[in-house]
Symmetry: C2
Subunit: 301 residues, 2 copies
């Protein structure tokens, strides 16, 4: 089960009550914070997110609207006496910034941090249920997208039916993998008569800040939900290019090229008071588009 | 004319909708930001403060709840294309933190910053109308209070009356200083018959975070408004001591010792949902006490 809760959907300058980028990804019983703009700890509190469940943080790049809230979040978790290790995936340079600020405050956090530096594409973390990977995007400074894939879950065994067919427990693991069972008397018990398929594995990709980058489509092919930035409307495509950002139409084009199931667009420029035109523009290219709205949780299924 | 607007009145952990410390001091046509906790730029926007008027920033110490919002404020002013110099009074160590974060983002601010380091007590800035000084307080790390004094304004000349008495313009400056005029015929024209007193000079002191420090009283004697932290109620005076903070009763005691005109108390611990008991406790010692409430402007007169 995956779900993403939007804590901030605006670009660099906070405006019109919109906050800078931050999201919480629910990965079964684990939470991951994806980017952490200023004010994220207040937003987490506003939306009643259980911060003690956050064991992973992904910081896409070192522009302030994506990480200035991190140091406050980390020190607050210290004040709350967190003990569990926290894994922070981030570009090189961030650990030194955090250390300098902790040293200036004379603070030692009561919990360990494991930094995983974003230096090459690939899997960063693998849990029993998920993989977390990064892929490069094209921005003014080194910047990384994030791809979370649920692992394919084994088929579930139907207890009563395996007992009825007298299938030995030693074969259960084979059943979970999808194999049929052949009994001693030669009778074939088909797998789907004694097991139930698990829900299909789902996936979430987060583009962070990027220019229109058609090559991206190959990296995020067929994901269940793609969050793609759309800082501008397409009449400002030249400005988007100059500032290493994308337009709503371009975000929708990437969704089409990648064959994703659904598209979420956000990171709206502070020049726009209304964001509805972003949805209209994107839907002309990719109908299954939604706006990333603060405080809303999008189920990924 | 002085006035202080409270943007945040809470201690380390944001709680109950209260924000970490930040204040805006209006000094005639200039604004000074005093401390800048996380989210200050959003609070400035919420309370419609004209940030382009902020030319001075005072950061009392390097605990995050007093400065984590600064880097976001500085970069936002860059995005808004500020050109005017900004004067930042701060403890040593802060310039390096700011520089490291700007470098990581690949940003050069479009305006100059002049840093004035808080290393010894005394006047930091002197303008035509005000002096800004710092004084040491007692906290876990190096920490400074801020004292702003309006300069004594010259008396105003009553145009019609000086003409009536035929006082030469060359003597006007003496009149503004309060001297009487003796005419050629020996007649004495009393100063108060031809001039009007300016409003009395006012002053504001901000204690920042401090243990109960009776020596403080001498530094802030007779100020018009004292903001003194009161993190705890007095039943937790031992905790206040251990954590280098003060209680409401102690804040009121300092106000009494210093003979200030009014007292404002804030920096409430996140353990208190209600802050009314702080006012009740302080008023038992010093009746002219008010709570520092977010979004409220306190005139200093």
């Amino acid at each position: 089960m995956l779900a993403v809760t939007i804590l901030g959907n605006n670009s660099a300058l906070p405006a019109f009550g919109r906050h800078p980028t931050a999201q919480v990804l629910t990965m079964k019983d684990q939470l991951m914070l994806i980017d952490c703009g200023e004010g994220t700890q207040m937003q987490l509190s506003r939306y009643k997110i259980r911060i003690s469940k956050i064991n992973y943080i992904f910081i896409s790049h070192l522009h302030g609207d994506h990480y200035f809230g991190l140091i406050g979040f980390l020190t607050s978790m210290g004040l709350l006496n967190r003990k569990n290790e926290l894994v922070i995936m981030c570009p090189p340079g961030l650990p030194e910034i955090i250390q300098l600020q902790l040293a200036a405050a004379g603070i030692a956090l009561p919990y360990p941090i494991q930094y995983i530096l974003l230096e090459q594409p690939g899997i960063l973390v693998e849990t029993r249920s998920f993989t977390i990977a990064c892929f490069p995007v094209e921005h003014r400074i080194s910047c990384w997208g994030c791809l979370v894939r649920e692992k394919k879950m084994p088929r579930k065994i139907h207890r009563e039916k395996v007992l009825l067919h007298q299938i030995p427990a030693a074969f259960y693991e084979q059943l979970q993998k999808g194999y049929d069972y052949t009994a001693a008397n030669g009778a074939c018990i088909s797998n789907d008569s004694v097991t139930i398929a698990a829900s299909p594995a789902v996936s979430y990709a987060y583009s962070s800040d990027t220019r229109f980058l058609p090559e991206l489509a190959a990296q995020i092919q067929s994901v269940t939900l793609l969050y793609h930035e759309s800082t501008y409307l397409h009449d400002l495509k030249d400005r988007a290019y100059d500032r290493y950002h994308s337009t709503a139409q371009q975000a929708a084009t990437i969704a089409t090229l990648a064959g994703v199931k659904r598209l979420l667009i956000g990171h709206f420029s502070s020049k726009y008071e209304e964001v509805a035109p972003f949805e209209q523009e994107a839907k002309q290219v990719f109908t299954r588009t939604e706006l990333a709205l603060e405080g809303v949780t999008y189920l990924i299924k």
